[in-house]
């Protein structure tokens, strides 16, 4: 199951699992964002290539207005970002203590 919620004006929390069955729901949520956004991934357990596609599409759309910053990424998902080169095209903030 995948869930997303807006915490405040510029921060969004993604939770659960972003797989091929949930990608459409995630894209519909992220398509509503219009400005620079911090995505808190502390509750995101899992992402597949379908989820990466959702993040990439969002980053391409929002980059002209400030882009997406990813925070609190778990180590499995961080590996996925590293192996896909997403650590070069997203700003990734280290996990908070």
């Amino acid at each position: 199951m995948f869930e997303a919620e807006t915490i405040d004006g510029g921060e969004v929390r993604l939770m659960g699992r972003l797989d091929a069955a949930q990608a459409e729901k995630a894209q519909a949520f992220l398509d509503q964002l219009t400005g620079p956004t911090r995505l808190d991934l502390s509750g995101l357990e899992y992402i597949s290539s379908a989820g990466l596609g959702v993040l990439l599409k969002t980053q391409k759309r929002l980059m002209p207005v400030g882009g997406v910053t990813l925070t609190n990424v778990n180590h499995h998902i961080h590996d996925i970002f590293k192996y896909s080169g997403f650590d070069q095209i997203f700003k990734i903030e280290p996990a908070s203590a």
Binding site: S48, G53, Q88
Partner: protein, 139 residues
């Protein structure tokens, strides 16, 4: 342990639950759960996408391997399609040159120890292993 699943994306939760039950039953390290979920999802969804002519369910079979497990996905009544020969992905491309797609098999190869494909008598079979030994080397 093996089970067949309808060739639809919305069965993924059932596939993951099937894998999780095997992990629990055999006390397999949780560190391998993410890479195994990832690899199975990518291979399963590839079968769904690239062999739409088949009406058969897809079989997922799990077996214990030294320090981990061996996973085999079998697609029935399909033409050969070898995802292990997918073209290389340039992960250094800048954002403006990136397009969604193409990363699944590239990442799967990074996350598992080995992956083999065979096709015979109308069946495509992909087998991979994921072990703690391989995981420790990658970490």
């Amino acid at each position: 342990m093996q089970r067949r699943f309808h060739r639809r994306f919305d069965v993924l939760d059932d596939v993951f639950a099937f894998i999780d039950s095997f992990f629990v039953e055999h006390s397999i390290s949780d560190e391998l759960r993410f890479p195994v979920h990832f690899a199975v999802e990518e291979l399963f969804t590839n079968m769904v996408k690239y062999s739409p002519e088949s009406g058969e369910d897809i079989e997922v079979a799990l077996a214990i391997a030294p320090e981990g497990l061996k996973v085999c996905l079998t697609d029935f009544d399909v033409k050969p399609f070898d995802p292990t020969r997918a073209k290389a992905v340039d992960t250094d491309k800048p954002l403006e040159e990136r397009t969604p797609g193409g990363l699944g098999i590239h990442l799967t190869k990074k996350l598992v120890d080995s992956m083999e494909y065979e096709h015979s008598e109308g069946q495509s079979r992909i087998t991979f292993t994921a072990t703690m030994r391989g995981h420790d080397v990658r970490s």
